[in-house]
Subunit: 208 residues, 2 copies
DNA sequence: TAGATTGTTAATCGATTAACAATC
DNA sequence: TAGATTGTTAATCGATTAACAATC
């Protein structure tokens, strides 16, 4: 199935919008409503659904609960996703304390750091020595990791967790990493996000 | 000038790669080298440059220092960018302590929160009451804000800072916000980033 | 000069949108 | 039935890539 990243991101947005509509008491939805809620065209919504074989009812729209079930299934939300955080610095520890993941079925079950001062086995999310990561990942069958270590440590940390069996990494370190084929690395680069915003604000300012 | 977001993001990546090459002692670079460093085609590099009227030397490639000067100018890196953070929770306070912005000429000069317990005027980055945000933004001519408040508070906080003159917002709250035309809102949605990663890891697992 | 690289145009590719037959 | 909405195909749009003349 040929799909691009943007399409999958839209599926997540549809899902989130559907939960909001459901909370407001809606039971069914038209492609038009959903398009409005997410900020895309109705054609886009129907096209995205058709890619995944999701069908509604001619004239009747889509039943929200069934639609959510299908989207959740596609997005792998039908089971709890266990995730680890590598790096117990500002970003890493903020992510470990962040509550927003829970409602999405994503649970951060441990953090890892090389600094012995950061180790804390009795934390709600325990912070363990990095050298235990390998056995922890294997024992618990962890596939997803968030990488939030300093630039210079990032490649080495990635190598370690990939070798231990990690299949997907969300990397916050602001540089491009080399990963084996078995591991997907997605990037969150806050510096570049801000730089981008500043660029478009400057452009808007000049043209106004 | 017609430009898309991806093009500007590539300019940031070129810039970052050029600094690394410069640190390694390189003085000039070919479109081919830069393409490799960033993971795009050489055509893409030359095309991006031509959009902004950046030219090199036939056969001679591009002189790194001149290229950096032009890219920095386009990206607005020629002056310090002062930014505020709204929300002193886990994400907000992590961003205020994060040192990675400084080397990019981005300085977080204050944080704001409604919780009196979070106020701290003697912090390296002072945390001030939200009701002071309006006057602070106006007095200091702040144009860029990072929004890191809980979902339910996000729209109200955005309204407040937009009214005070904010022109660009990097929003971490996981919902779509309504902003006036005068203000650009970019979204960082960590839940959706993880969901996306999980999807592609699942797909890879099924097809292997 | 011969070889290599830029800058730009044309071709390709893929994603989005429009249109409309099917149908409830 | 008449009207409205889906599902899908075709058209459009825009971004990326390939090709190559210009030229150093």
């Amino acid at each position: 199935m040929i799909t691009n990243k943007n399409c999958i991101i839209r599926l997540s947005r549809y899902k989130n919008a559907l939960y909001r509509l459901q909370a407001l008491g809606f039971v069914k939805v038209f492609s038009d409503n959903l398009a409005d809620a997410v900020g895309v065209t109705a054609s886009q919504v129907r096209k995205d659904f058709s890619i995944f074989g999701i069908s509604g009812n001619k004239k009747g729209g889509y039943q929200i609960d069934l639609l959510l079930e299908k989207l959740n299934n596609i997005l792998g939300k039908d089971r709890l996703q266990k995730v680890i955080v590598v790096g117990g610095g500002h970003i890493g520890s903020a992510l470990m304390r962040y509550r927003g993941f829970e409602k999405e079925g994503i649970k951060i079950i441990a953090g890892f750091d090389i600094d012995p001062a950061k180790i804390n086995r009795s934390n709600p999310v325990p912070i363990l020595p990095l050298e235990e990561a390998r056995i922890f990942i294997k024992t618990n069958g962890i596939r997803i990791a968030i990488l939030a270590v300093p630039d210079i440590a990032a490649q080495q940390a990635l190598d370690l967790i990939c070798a231990a069996g990690i299949k997907g990494v969300l990397n916050f370190a602001p540089l491009r990493l080399k990963a084996p084929e078995s591991c997907i690395v997605n990037y969150v680069n806050l510096e570049i996000e801000l730089e981008n915003l500043i660029y478009f604000v400057n452009v808007a300012e000049k043209t106004e």
